[in-house]
């Protein structure tokens, strides 16, 4: 891969401008608030997908437990919002006013200790980053230091997702159980439900998304990113060159976890609640498919993948609910069998060469950046 001195090479720059134009200008202008809020919801998965590009696409580590981190981030945010919504005044109908409603239903009479710090927004924001980050660090250290293979890692992360779901559902007095935490209302007194709040939250989320894209791109361009790719291709050779493979893997996994957690926190803000149905195995695998559809090697592709698959899900399931599962299943198989690099692969293999040729026939400067598409074209495993 040719690393250019610029932050983006030319085709990435086009991708960046296109995405920014769509998210910042075209969608807000063309959609009503209801649909824009849906886009905001889809984009929360894009955070997860970008993380997966780092750890799966570049690092070769497939995590089937990203829902865990999405959920941890989301629950941290939701706990803060829920506490604010459960002021004594709002909950005076309960037998113990001032605690979240689901605690009251479960005969809990005082706020549990681990809920206390979530009165503070600063703590909450720190927790959104640190709790999933530390959790990923623990899992990653335990697994990668012992050189657990890829498939084993996938299965164990899946088990972790299952455990966390059962735990959240089972401890409903502390977590809201299967209902989740509903009826989140305000953020520091600012009502998150009305239309104008939704628009502000949307732009804030898109801004955060581009920050994450920037971080991911930065990681990719540094030596770190190159070692990750090298590791995926020839792990032993990297190890014999004196690098600590485990540490790089742990780093990629932690970054992916933190991105997912930010997505989860934005989900709680935009959608106004959090439930265990975003934590378990099924959502975790769906998040992987967003990445796969967009292209596991492409950061922008991951965002497009999340948008398109979710958009298809909403519109197809509205009109043909039965067709949707067939379609989703076929999508999985098609992406794996025929297009291992997803949309960005199709773009790089079919569309870009034509544009190049078109441009090349005008200027006589032939394919200056075709190299990049070749490097991105190699399958991951």
């Amino acid at each position: 891969m040719i690393i250019t001195s610029r932050f983006f090479n030319r085709s990435e720059l086009i991708g960046f401008i296109a995405l920014a134009a769509v998210l910042f200008v075209i969608l807000p202008l063309s959609l009503d608030v209801f649909r824009l809020n849906l886009v905001a919801k889809y984009l929360t998965y894009a955070f997860v997908a970008i993380g997966l590009v780092l750890c799966w696409g570049y690092g070769g580590i497939l995590s089937l437990g990203q829902g865990v981190f999405f959920g941890l981030g989301g629950y941290c945010m939701a706990m803060f919002l829920k506490l604010e919504a459960s002021s004594v005044e709002n909950t005076k109908i309960q037998s113990t006013p001032g605690i979240p409603d689901f605690m009251d239903w479960n005969q809990i009479t005082s706020l549990p200790l681990f809920w206390q710090p979530f009165h503070s927004l600063t703590f909450t924001i720190a927790a959104i980053i640190l709790v999933p980050g530390l959790f990923a660090l623990i899992i990653g250290t335990a697994m990668f230091k012992r050189r657990v293979g890829g498939t084993y890692f996938a299965i164990i992360t899946q088990a972790v997702a299952a455990i966390l779901t059962i735990l959240i559902v089972g401890q409903q007095g502390y977590t809201g159980g299967i209902n989740g935490m509903t009826d989140l209302r305000t953020l520091r007194g600012w009502d998150i439900r009305p239309d104008h709040a939704k628009i502000i939250l949307y732009f804030f989320e898109v801004f955060l998304l581009f920050v994450c894209i920037g971080i991911a791109q930065f990681i990719r361009l540094t030596k770190l990113g190159r070692i990750l790719v090298a590791m995926r291709e020839q792990e032993d050779r990297v190890r014999f060159s004196g690098y600590s493979v485990a540490n790089f893997k742990i780093f990629a996994f932690c970054m992916a976890a933190i991105f997912a957690a930010i997505g989860g926190a934005m989900f709680a803000l935009n959608v106004g609640f959090m439930s265990p149905s975003f934590v378990g195995i099924v959502p975790s695998i769906e998040m992987v498919i967003y990445t796969a559809v967009g292209g596991r090697m492409s950061i922008f592709g991951a965002v497009w993948g999340s948008l398109l698959v979710n958009f298809a899900k909403t519109s197809l399931s509205e009109s043909f609910p039965q067709l949707w599962l067939f379609g989703l299943g076929a999508l999985f198989i098609a992406v794996v069998l025929a297009f291992p690099n997803g949309l960005s692969g199709i773009w790089a293999d079919y569309v870009q060469p034509r544009i190049d040729r078109l441009l090349a026939s005008r200027k006589s400067k032939a394919g200056a950046w075709a190299d990049n598409s070749v490097a991105d074209g190699a399958p991951a495993e």
Binding site: G150, Q158, V282, V336, E381
Partner: protein, 308 residues
């Protein structure tokens, strides 16, 4: 908590609790055997394993209905035929899937996971379209219902005994096929060194196809047996897939003995814990213990080689 009960009561409860663990053990072994063959021998992660199981359950249900309508006199014996049909149906579907999908992905094990997940979604929706979204219950012949009274306080469910017997039988057959038969030796040769196995004249593609078919067929039998204790719906299969994978991984892939040992320890732990705490906490603790042990000993209980 035991103060109020007599020693005799407690004794019989522990016997019955152990028995409950054994039933869970049998279910785990039946589900995990097929997976252990596919994952352990071929390295393929088959996320659609649960759906192959459910296919077996639906075949059993259809057989039961057919017998009720057309051959009510033979109803008491339908279950044996149903299990055979379940094996054949799931096995045939498995071979088809291997041919159409899996064989293109042997070099990319993580991608088989995604592809078979897609397959499982398609199968679920197919079941839903064909059999309806409601769960179906299979009617059992009279002799399988009820329980055997061992002592006054110890009663043993007949279908539990049946499932256990079946498990032992199938385990023996699988062990024989894999370790004693010519075909089993071919399978293991392919696992150890595909290129060399091909060079000495083994048709590796055919071996792959039959191995996958066998694994899926056993899942079909498991599904058939499962109708005796649970229900069958389009998404029932998904409930077991994680448990089953953990059983296989915990046992150490590629080791039949390991699969059995791990199914035994997981099921006994869970059913013992269930007696002292709520079902969901028992499950959480069991899974946590398994994951914890796997972190310390990633190769599983009886392992050949996992480290990359």
């Amino acid at each position: 908590m035991f103060g109020e009960y007599s020693i005799g009561d407690l004794g019989s409860i522990f016997v019955m609790q152990g028995f409950a663990g054994l039933i869970l053990f049998s279910v785990y072994v039946l589900m995990a055997l097929g997976l252990a063959i596919i994952f352990g021998q071929m390295g393929v992660i088959n996320m659609a394993h649960g759906e192959f199981m459910i296919l077996g359950a639906y075949v059993t249900w259809m057989t039961s209905n057919t017998f009720q309508h057309y051959l009510p006199s033979l109803f008491s014996g339908y279950f044996f035929l149903a299990m055979l049909l379940a094996f054949l149906a799931s096995g045939a579907l498995g071979m088809l899937v291997e041919w159409a999908l899996i064989r293109h992905l042997y070099k990319r094990p993580l991608d088989t996971l995604l592809a078979t997940w897609g397959l499982s979604l398609i199968l679920q929706q197919t079941y839903r379209s064909v059999f309806g979204p409601r769960e179906v219950g299979v009617e059992l012949p009279q002799w399988m219902l009820g329980s055997l009274k061992v002592t006054d306080s110890i009663e043993v469910p007949i279908n539990g005994v049946f499932v256990m017997g079946l498990t032992v039988l199938i385990t023996i057959v699988v062990a024989y096929v894999l370790y004693k038969s010519r075909w089993g030796r071919q399978v293991r040769a392919v696992v150890q060194n595909r290129i060399m196995a091909g060079a000495v004249g083994i048709n590796t593609e055919k071996v792959d196809r039959y191995t996958f078919g066998l694994g899926c067929g056993i899942a079909g039998i498991a599904g058939s047996a499962f109708t005796m204790i649970g229900s069958t719906g389009p998404t029932s299969g998904q409930l077991y897939i994680v448990d089953t994978f953990l059983v296989v991984v915990f046992g150490g892939a590629a080791s039949l003995l390991g699969t059995i040992a791990s199914a035994f320890s997981i099921s006994q732990t869970q059913s013992t814990l269930e007696f002292f705490m709520s079902g969901s906490m028992a499950k959480v603790l069991t899974l946590l213990a398994v994951v914890g042990i796997l972190m310390l000993r990633p190769q599983g209980l009886f392992a050949l080689k996992v480290r990359k």
